[in-house]
């Protein structure tokens, strides 16, 4: 009982503190903007911990955050091996191949206005499809190791990236292109100096969508067969053998990898598209 009351009290206290920070004069300062969401997250974790302990929830159903942290610290070697297999080998390689292939395809397609008009609706449609379902087919084609995971990721990231790049390449207006024309710039120069930079916000939008898709693809593909390592493998066997705390530790790794990957792309975006209105102010 004391755990529940304590956790709820802590949560309420944190919320009250957040209200005070948010309504205070410093609410627009960077420390406040970081402190408020962090406090919110910590309060949620405390609530989870308190409820699990207070209600005596069995560890095979829902382990407490502290227990997950202990398991995490005790099995860093397993988690690292899985991280390398799934994220570095499967997701990252597939991401790079798929994104580069889509980018090159977009630039080639862009030369023909006819093909662009045909491809955009189809690409938009395919990008909305549940492409993850292709995972068992590709695992069958490319075997159990990381190659098949990378292949799933390639297919998943290709269309969102393609559509965004093609749209970005159409971003320049008549006036800007005419200016390049008066400079006697050729196709290649116009592409590199004007159209690609103008397309960057769209390209990065595609890249950010692709980061989350890449991890989803790599993990799902492992459910259909993998060597005896990898995050998807560990999660599916962990659920079967009731080592739920290890599964949660893998989920933490997946969450950290996903957030880190996304954060990295967003950071690069900030550097590249500093001139765009959405990055200013």
């Amino acid at each position: 009982m004391i755990w529940i009351v304590g956790a709820v009290a802590f949560w309420l206290g944190a919320w009250a503190l957040n209200v005070r920070i948010a309504n205070s004069a410093v609410s627009r300062a960077l420390p406040a903007r970081i402190a408020v969401p962090v406090l919110f997250g910590v309060a949620l974790l405390a609530l989870w911990e308190g409820l699990v302990r207070g209600l005596g929830v069995s560890a095979v159903i829902l382990p407490a955050p502290s227990q997950v942290a202990v398991t995490f610290a005790a099995s860093t070697d397993i988690l690292w091996v899985d991280f390398v297999q799934t994220v570095l080998k499967g997701a990252l390689r597939g991401f790079l191949i798929g994104v580069v292939a889509a980018f090159v395809t977009a630039i080639v397609i862009d030369r023909s206005a006819f093909l662009t008009r045909g491809l955009l609706p189809i690409g938009n449609f395919v990008a909305a499809l549940p492409i993850v379902g292709i995972a068992p087919i590709l695992v069958n084609w490319f075997g159990f190791d990381w190659q098949s995971k990378a292949a799933v990721v390639v297919v998943m990231v290709f269309f969102p990236m393609l559509v965004n790049t093609v749209q970005g390449l159409r971003e320049t207006d008549r006036l800007q292109r005419d200016l390049m024309h008066t400079y006697a710039a050729g196709y290649l120069q116009t592409l590199i100096k004007l159209r690609l930079p103008a397309a960057m916000p769209f390209v990065f939008n595609g890249l950010k969508i692709a980061t989350t898709l890449a991890l989803i693809g790599a993990i799902v593909a492992e459910y259909f067969g993998s060597p005896t390592r990898g995050m998807g493998f560990r999660i599916s066997t962990g659920v079967g053998s009731l080592s739920i705390d290890l599964v949660w530790a893998e989920i933490v790794v997946a969450a950290l990898a996903g957030t880190g990957f996304y954060g990295l792309v967003a950071w690069i975006e900030k550097r590249v598209t500093f001139w765009h209105p959405s990055q200013r102010g």
Binding site: G133, P136, I219
Partner: protein, 310 residues
Amino acid sequence: MRNLLPVLTVLALILGIWWAAVGPMNMRAALDIAERGGAAVVPEGSVARREVSVWRLMAQNSDHVAAGYDLDRPRLPTPTQVGAELWKTTGAMVLRGRAFSKRSLINHGWITLQSTLWGFLLGTTLGILGAVAIVYSRVADMSLMPWAIISQTVPIVALAPMIIVLSNQLGIEGRGVPKAIISAYLCYFPVLVSMVKGLRSPTSSELDLLKTYNTGPVQSFFKLRLPASVPFLFTALKVGIAAALVGTIVGELPTGAISGLGARILIGDQFGTPLAIWSALFAAAILAGLLVTALDLIQRVTLKRMGFRA
């Protein structure tokens, strides 16, 4: 309509590439079957053939290439094979009056559709409520928004098995609820982001006008902010319903479900029937297309009635 010809051209291109790829993809399997049937094949034995490239096999055994286009269990089926399988498990079953038999994709599609719609409803509700909270409360804006973004970078598939275990332990029968939760998880985010944008879209002069009418916050919400956000809402709903379908299929894939389109893919994989996988994939694509088109129609009618310029 202007885009019809280009779209058809690109579709034909894709189908052409697909059809051309079937030959090389299925060559080895076709040769194995031909050899077992007593035909002369160069080189003999599937182990020896593994050393030879597909292109040489096709050149040396050119009369067996056609067999690759008509296998029972192809590595890559032809478009016509997939179409025939789709018809066999949907239209043909309707004609025999067994639209909802266990082998019918209509039955599985219906199960997937139900979870999708429940997840869509849940996700949309959460997204709208969250957006209202974020627009009206600075605390919610500061504490919820970063976590909403982070939640989407967490690969949901990692969580999916846990959601199913948890809901089983809580005594929830069947897979409908966990599947709906997973699809709501994927679907709430676009709605939340667009609704925040939409609810904030009225200009300050519009808000000022309402203030001169002496309207309270509730009235200005229903008379101004909510109507102004409707175009944003529909754009998000179209993204959201596609995301909800992805979520449902993800929920069905790795978890040993036995009904639903995702489960058909899983079962097709376990029993080595590629045609079942491909037809389920295309059924899912058709379902996605129908859902998005339906929302698009509703959007057009609603916006026209509300007086937005289409």
